[in-house]
């Protein structure tokens, strides 16, 4: 079976969707040459009217995409840096997201915001290492964080086809993941549907994005002590609560590993939503970035601030000892 990298899966999804639907076009910074290595070759294939290099005007080109969507196109906006989303939060939230409601259903705004390389990039420090997917979940924008190449393909394709704005976070730590993939099976992955990555009986670990791989590794390491089920929500908002409840009602224990800042991060929401519905046999735990995290430059500090395998291992072990 051929190997597919996460990054190439994104390229492939863009190519397939642009081929399938003429209304899909791309815009962003340095995308014609493909500086982020997701869009190379697309200019040649689809021409300059469908692959637009923008000036460094994130706010204007984000709203330009809103306008183009109102006029019937399906823009995909690439952001070079996750932290740029803070610049365009206004344009996405106040306009793209609010237009359907404010107009009483007169329009749709099918824009995809693609962030190839979200979260820590190791050594890029404070202003390039944010992972603000919980922020978008909070305002109610469809938000996906694919973990695998097949999901990167499938969730990006679904995002482009979706009639509301969707933010696609492609974690930097997942971009180099490669999987054996039968290309014929690549297909859109439904938004809002999670998946059990590893079956287990004792505890459910919800892992977001690149952390799915860490959770799977930890589950293997602990396999002789505890049977860990790993649940990958894939979409952060809307969250597949039913899928997770299926798992948690079997295991009775819940640990969430989430690369958000702790306060108001998606882990808090996941835990609360579960506790509102089912009792657990032990208190739930979460492994996250600290409150208000700014990722420090030095690699040891950068790692210290990110949720990692050691903390996850500890959280699982504590949860197994605890009883409610």
């Amino acid at each position: 079976m051929p190997r597919l990298s996460y990054r190439k899966a994104l390229t492939r999804a863009l190519t397939d969707e642009m081929t399938r639907d003429e209304s899909v076009f791309l815009l962003g910074e340095d995308i014609r040459v493909g500086a982020s290595n997701v869009t190379p070759g697309l200019l040649k294939r689809f021409g300059p009217d469908r692959v637009l290099d923008t000036p460094l005007s994130e706010q204007a080109f984000t709203s330009f995409a809103t306008g183009a969507a109102l006029a019937g196109l399906r823009p995909v906006v690439e952001f070079q840096i996750p932290s740029l989303l803070f610049l365009v939060f206004e344009q996405i939230v106040n306009h793209a997201h609010k237009f359907p409601m404010m107009t009483g259903g007169q329009c749709s705004v099918p824009v995809t915001y693609l962030v190839p390389g979200s979260g820590s990039r190791t050594g890029w420090a404070g202003q390039h290492s944010d992972h603000p997917y919980s922020l978008f979940a909070h305002v109610g924008i469809v938000t996906v964080v694919p973990a695998t190449p097949a999901d990167a393909y499938g969730l990006l394709a679904s995002a482009i086809r979706h009639d509301d704005p969707v933010v696609v976070f492609a974690p930097a730590a997942a971009l180099e993941v490669r999987d054996d993939v039968d290309f014929a099976t690549l297909a859109p992955v439904p938004l809002g549907r999670g998946v059990v990555r590893r079956a287990g009986d004792d505890v459910t670990v919800v892992a977001v994005g690149h952390l799915v791989h860490d959770a799977l590794a930890v589950a293997e390491e602990l396999a002789d002590q505890v049977s860990v089920e790993v649940f990958d929500p894939r979409t952060i908002y809307p969250f597949d609560l039913d899928g997770l409840l299926d798992s948690v009602s079997r295991t009775g224990r819940l640990v969430v590993v989430d690369d958000s800042n702790r306060s108001c991060g998606i882990a808090a929401e996941i835990i609360t939503s579960v506790l509102e519905r089912v009792p657990l046999v032990a208190p739930p735990r979460r492994v996250t970035r600290p409150d208000g995290a700014v990722l420090p430059f030095a690699p040891v500090l950068d790692r210290a601030v990110q949720p990692g395998r050691e903390q996850l291992t500890a959280a699982i072990q504590l949860t197994m000892k605890d009883r409610s």
Binding site: S23, F25, D49, T54, P55, S57, Q59, A60, F61, T62, S63, F64, A65, T66, G67, A68, A69, L70, A71, G72, L73, P75, E90, Q91, N94, H95, F99, P100, M101, M102, T103, G104, G105, Q106, C107, S108, V109, P110, G140, V142, H162, D163, D164, G192, P238
Partner: protein, 322 residues
């Protein structure tokens, strides 16, 4: 294509004037909650610009947006119903004064984030043209918007990609209480010129002057020209917002207001009609607005069970709050 009939232009100006006066009365009577930003005194700008546009062209407006929406041809009855928060409103009561929109006639909405809409309009006009529909657009914004970075980014993008949008700055001298002199370094036209965008100043109190300037710009834009800017000098006759009726804010002298009000676009355009024609238009406008107010007040309020309707165009449903 542009509509040079003085009576039609007068009708639009008069319609907006009387619509606003009736809306203020409805604010006072409690039928419009939250108040409005009256367009009184500035009617000639929306009327003049939209008279030079075609039905398929696009506009975006501002928080002071009733005139833009009406001038582009929205139904005054559904517009008034929107202000009153009724299910029969343009936006089914989901938008209100500051977000009134009618996409079916090219009104991509009043927009209450100052300076935000020109970039949206630029993208929409560009996309229509990509799809073989050669529309132009006009985006209205106030003098307060010219200090928003977002607006200047939009100037650059429109000019760079030669997107035919008319950038209409309604310079009424104030952003709320902040005078232009206290806020704008350089000039408004100079901002456009810095991006290679042709810019002119026009007397915003003269609807026909605005129409002519717009018609010329639109002709150039239809001919392949890029964006242009019109700075329409105007004066806001009334409060920034109706809340100001209750709290008198001392930022304009009575003399200044009186001077400003002396050049009234309704009278300037009205003088171009015979008294009999003017009376006939006035009477028809009153009839239209009588019906509009009656329609608005007769409309049902939206069902609270539908408070989350249209949050998502995709049909996604959001969890409720309890």
């Amino acid at each position: 294509m542009t509509d040079a009939d003085p009576a039609r232009l007068y009708r639009t100006v008069r319609l907006i004037r009387r619509f606003e006066e009736r809306a203020i009365a409805l604010v006072r009577s409690g039928h419009i909650v939250g108040g409005i930003h009256p367009y009184l005194g500035q009617e000639g700008i929306a009327a003049g610009v939209c008279a030079a546009l075609d039905a398929g062209d696009l506009v975006t407006g501002t928080h002071r947006g009733h005139g833009h929406v009406l001038a582009k041809g929205a139904d005054p009855a559904r517009m008034m119903a929107e202000l009153c928060g009724r299910e029969t409103g343009l936006n089914r009561g989901r938008g209100g004064s500051m977000h009134a929109a009618d996409l079916s006639i090219g009104v991509l909405g009043a927009n209450a984030i100052v300076g935000a809409s020109p970039a949206i309009l630029t993208g929409a006009v560009w996309a229509h043209r990509q799809r073989g529909n050669p529309v132009v657009g006009a985006s209205f914004f106030g003098d307060g918007a010219v200090n928003e970075g977002m607006l200047l980014e939009a100037f650059n993008l429109a000019a760079l990609w030669r997107v035919p949008v008319l950038l209409v700055c309604e310079n009424n001298g104030y952003a709320t209480t902040m005078p232009v002199a206290g806020a704008v370094a350089g000039t408004i036209t100079g901002r456009a010129e810095a991006f290679g965008i042709p810019a002119v100043v026009v007397d915003g109190q003269d609807p026909e002057a605005v129409r002519q300037v717009t018609a010329a710009a639109v002709a150039r834009m239809r001919d392949g020209g890029g964006p242009e800017l019109v700075e329409a000098r105007t004066y806001r006759f009334d409060a920034h917002h109706t809340f100001e009726h209750a709290v008198r804010l001392a930022y304009r002298t009575p003399q200044e207001v009186a001077d400003g009000r002396s050049r009234d676009p309704v009278d300037i355009q009205g003088a171009r009609l015979s008294p009999a024609d003017r009376e006939a238009v006035d009477a028809e406008v009153e009839t239209t607005l009588d019906a509009a107010v009656a329609f608005a007040l007769a409309g049902p309020e939206p069902d609270p069970a539908g408070a989350l309707d249209h949050l998502y165009a995709s049909g996604l449903t959001a969890r409720g709050g309890s």
